[in-house]
C-alpha cells in the first residue's frame, strides 16, 4: 500500500462529517463521567469508582428499560427514559457507598473505589444472570434514537456533526456548560470547591465539609449513572458484562487533563472520542484491530504524562476530613 493512498484515505476520514459526529457520540459517556469526577474530586474525594458507577448505570438503564416495556406498560419510546431515571438513581445509590466509606468512615478513598469497582463488576454479572437467566448479557431493550434538531440539522457539515444525536448527547453538552457555571460562578460551587481546597477553613466559616463532599459524590453518581445509560441505551441497546472496559479510568484522566473543570473535562473527552472515532473508520487501512483497540489507552497515558505538572489538583484531594 503506497503512502499516497493512505494519505488519501486519512484526508477522506478527516473531511467527513461523520467522523466528528462519531467523536461527539463516543465522547459523551466519557464526558459525563469525567464531569461527575470533576465535581467529586473538587470536594476532595478521589473517585476511581467511576468505572463501577458507570457499570451500575449501564446495567440499571437496561433493566429499567426492559421492565418498563415488558411489565410496567410503557411504550417503546418511553422505556429508555425510564431506563435513564433508573440509571441515574442507581448510580447515585451506588455512589452513596463511596461517600459512606470515604467520608464518614474515613477509609482510603482509592481502596474504597477499587472495592466498589469489583463489587459493581460482580454485582452486575450476578444480577444479569439472576434476572435474565443467561450469563454475559441482557436481552435487547428499548433504546434512544437520534433526535435531529429541526432547522439546525440542515446547516451544512455542522448540522450532521452537532444536531443529529440521541438525547443524552445533548444533555452532556448542556451539563458541561451548566456545570462550569455552577462550579465557578455560584455560591454552592464555591462551597463545593472550598471543602476540597481547605476543609478546615471551610468548616470554620460554617460550611459542612461532610455535606458538601456527599453532594460532590452524589453528583458523580448521577452523572456516572447517566454515562452508563448512554452505553446500554444507545446503539447496542443491551447491557453486557464489563461493558465499560476501562472507560471510568479514561474519564478520570480526561478530568485531570481538563484541569478539574467541567468544560475542560468535556473538551478532553472530545479528544478521546476523536481517537476512538478514527478507530471505527481506519479499518480501510491495514492495521491489526488489537493495535487500534489499544489507542484510547495509549492516548490516556500520553495525555496524563503531558497534563501533569501543569494541572494542579485540589489541595485536600484524597485526604479524609475528621471533624473534632
Amino acid at each position: 500500500m503506497d503512502i499516497g493512498h493512505v494519505l488519501g484515505v486519512i484526508m477522506g476520514i478527516l473531511s467527513d462529517p461523520s467522523t466528528y459526529q462519531a467523536m461527539i457520540r463516543i465522547s459523551t459517556p466519557l464526558a459525563l463521567a469525567a464531569i461527575g469526577g470533576t465535581f467529586c474530586e473538587r470536594t476532595g474525594v478521589v473517585n476511581i469508582a467511576l468505572e463501577g458507577i458507570m457499570l451500575v448505570g449501564a446495567f440499571a438503564g437496561a433493566v429499567f428499560s426492559y421492565y418498563a416495556q415488558a411489565s410496567w406498560g410503557f411504550s417503546e419510546g418511553m422505556a429508555p427514559w425510564v431506563g435513564l431515571i433508573g440509571a441515574v438513581s442507581m448510580g447515585m445509590l451506588f455512589s452513596l457507598l463511596h461517600g459512606v466509606g470515604s467520608i464518614h468512615l474515613r477509609a482510603d478513598q482509592v481502596v474504597i473505589g477499587a472495592a466498589l469497582n469489583i463489587l459493581a463488576l460482580g454485582g452486575t454479572g450476578f444480577l444479569t444472570q439472576a434476572i435474565f437467566g443467561v450469563a454475559g448479557a441482557s436481552p435487547r431493550v428499548g433504546s434512544f434514537d437520534p433526535v435531529p434538531i429541526p432547522g439546525l440539522v440542515k446547516i451544512p457539515f455542522l448540522g450532521q456533526v452537532l444536531f443529529n444525536h440521541t438525547p443524552i448527547v445533548y444533555m452532556a453538552i448542556v451539563i458541561a456548560i451548566a456545570g462550569q457555571f455552577i462550579l465557578f460562578r455560584t455560591p454552592i460551587g464555591l462551597r463545593l470547591r472550598s471543602v476540597g481546597e481547605h476543609p478546615k477553613a471551610a468548616d470554620t466559616v460554617g460550611i459542612s465539609v461532610y455535606k458538601m463532599r456527599y453532594v460532590g459524590v452524589l453528583i458523580s453518581g448521577a452523572l456516572g449513572g447517566l454515562a452508563g445509560a448512554n452505553l446500554s441505551l444507545e446503539a447496542v441497546s443491551q447491557f453486557s458484562e464489563n461493558m465499560t472496559r476501562g472507560r471510568g479510568f479514561i474519564a478520570l484522566a480526561a478530568n485531570i487533563f481538563g484541569k478539574w473543570t467541567p468544560l475542560g473535562s468535556w473538551l478532553s473527552s472530545l479528544l478521546f472520542g476523536f481517537a476512538e472515532s478514527l478507530k471505527l473508520r481506519t479499518q480501510v487501512i491495514d492495521i491489526p484491530p488489537e493495535f487500534i483497540l489499544m489507542l484510547p489507552y495509549v492516548l490516556t497515558i500520553v495525555v496524563l504524562a503531558g497534563a501533569m505538572g501543569r494541572a494542579i489538583p485540589p489541595d485536600a484531594i484524597g485526604k479524609p476530613y475528621s471533624k473534632q
Partner: protein
C-alpha cells in the same frame, strides 16, 4: 495471653470479621434472588476442599495469587496502588512462555533463566508508570490500568499472529519445551503422592517468595526506605530517602512479582501461552493484598482463601445454580470492610466511652476521686 499473641489476635480480627460479614451478606443476596445459600456454601466448601483433587485445584489457584498479592502489597507499602498487576502478569507469562517455546537447554539453566525473564518482563511493564509517577506525578492507578489494557491487546495480537501454533484450534502458542517445565510435585517428592498431581514447584516458589519479600521489607535498607516513603514521603525526602528512586524501584519489584506469577502459571500449569490465559489473577491480587493488610506472610492465607473461593465458586454454580460472579461481590465487600477500619475503631471507641462512663459513675458513687 502474651502481648505478641494479643497483637496478632487484634491484627487478625478485622480481616477475619470482614470475611465472615461478607459471607453473610453474600448469603442474604443469594436468598434475595431465590437461591439457597446453604446449598450454595455447601457446594463451595465441597469443591474447594473435599477430595485431594479439589484441594490441589484450590492450591493451584492460590499460587499465582500469592505472587500477585505480594506484588500489590509491596507497592502499597511504598504508598503506591498497582492496580495494573493483571497486565504485568500477562506480559510476564507471554514473554517467559514465548522464550520457553524456543529454549531447550538443561533444566537447571532454562528454568531459572525463564523465571528471571518473566520477572524482567513484568517489571518492564511497570517501568513507565513508575517513571511517570516519579517525574510528572501521573497517578499510577490510571497509568498501570491503561498499561494493563495495552498488555492485554498486545499479547492477544502476538498470540494470534506471531506465536500461534498452526495446529491449534484456539489462539495458543506452541508448547514450551520439556526443559522449561516447572516439575510437578509427584516427580519431585514421589513419596508424598499416590498418583500424579498437577501441583508444581511453583507452590514452594510462592511460599519462598513471600518469606523473601517479608525479609526484604522488614530487614533490609531497601525495605526500610520503601516503607519510609510509603508512610510519609515528605519526612522520607527530608531524611535523605529519595522518593522518586523508591517509587520507581517499588513499582519495578511489584511488576516483577506479577510478571513472575504469569511465567510460573505458563511453566507450571498451561505449558503454552493461551490468549487471555489469566483468570483475573492480577485483579484478585488486589483483594488478596488488602485482606492481608499488605503483610507478605499474610498474603499466603489470603491467597488460599481466594483460591478456594474461585474454585468453590464453580461448585456453587454447578450445585446450586448460583452465578460465579458472587465471588467478585464477596471480594468487593471484603475490601470495603477491611478498608473501613473506622468501623472497628468506632465500635472500640464506643465501648471505651461506655467503660469510662461506668468508671466515672462508680467513682462518683464511692465518692472517691478515681482515675476518671
Amino acid at each position: 495471653m502474651t502481648s505478641g499473641a494479643k497483637k496478632l489476635g487484634v491484627a487478625l480480627a478485622q480481616p477475619l470479621g470482614s470475611v465472615i460479614v461478607a459471607l453473610i451478606i453474600g448469603g442474604i443476596v443469594m436468598a434475595a434472588f431465590g437461591f439457597d445459600p446453604f446449598s450454595g456454601y455447601a457446594g463451595l466448601f465441597r469443591y474447594a476442599f473435599l477430595s485431594e483433587f479439589n484441594m490441589s485445584v484450590t492450591i493451584l489457584n492460590s499460587v499465582p495469587l500469592v505472587f500477585t498479592g505480594l506484588a500489590v502489597a509491596f507497592a502499597f507499602r511504598c504508598g503506591l496502588f498497582n492496580i495494573g498487576a493483571e497486565g504485568q502478569f500477562i506480559i510476564g507469562g507471554l514473554v517467559g512462555g514465548w522464550l520457553g517455546t524456543l529454549i531447550a537447554w538443561p533444566m537447571v539453566i532454562t528454568v531459572p533463566l525463564l523465571l528471571t525473564v518473566g520477572v524482567l518482563a513484568g517489571a518492564l511493564w511497570a517501568l513507565l508508570p513508575g517513571v511517570l509517577k516519579a517525574t510528572t506525578g501521573a497517578h499510577e492507578v490510571i497509568t498501570t490500568m491503561m498499561m494493563s489494557w495495552i498488555g492485554l491487546y498486545l499479547s492477544s495480537y502476538l498470540v494470534k499472529n506471531v506465536l500461534m501454533d498452526p495446529r491449534s484450534t484456539i489462539p495458543a502458542s506452541n508448547a514450551i519445551t520439556d526443559q522449561a517445565h516447572l516439575l510437578t510435585l509427584d516427580k519431585v517428592l514421589p513419596f508424598l503422592f499416590r498418583g500424579s498431581t498437577r501441583l508444581h514447584l511453583g507452590v514452594f516458589l510462592a511460599v519462598l517468595m513471600a518469606v523473601f519479600i517479608w525479609y526484604l521489607l522488614t530487614r533490609t535498607t531497601l525495605g526500610f526506605e520503601v516503607r519510609a516513603v510509603g508512610s510519609n514521603p515528605f519526612a522520607a525526602e527530608a531524611g535523605g530517602v529519595s522518593v522518586s528512586r523508591n517509587t520507581i524501584l517499588a513499582l519495578l519489584i511489584s511488576g516483577g512479582l506479577a510478571g513472575l506469577a504469569g511465567t510460573v502459571e505458563i511453566m507450571g500449569l498451561h505449558y503454552r501461552v493461551y490468549d487471555r490465559f489469566s483468570a483475573g489473577y492480577g485483579f484478585t491480587g488486589i483483594t488478596v493484598a488488602l485482606l492481608a493488610k499488605n503483610h507478605p506472610l499474610g498474603v499466603i492465607p489470603a491467597a488460599l482463601l481466594f483460591g478456594a473461593l474461585t474454585n468453590g465458586g464453580a461448585g456453587m454454580q454447578l450445585r446450586a445454580g448460583i452465578p460465579i460472579d458472587i465471588v467478585d461481590v464477596l471480594s468487593g465487600v471484603i475490601i470495603f470492610l477491611v478498608a473501613a477500619e473506622e468501623l472497628v475503631n468506632a465500635v472500640g471507641r464506643r465501648r471505651e466511652k461506655r467503660r469510662t462512663a461506668a468508671r466515672a459513675d462508680a467513682a462518683l458513687e464511692t465518692g472517691g476521686g478515681g482515675e476518671a
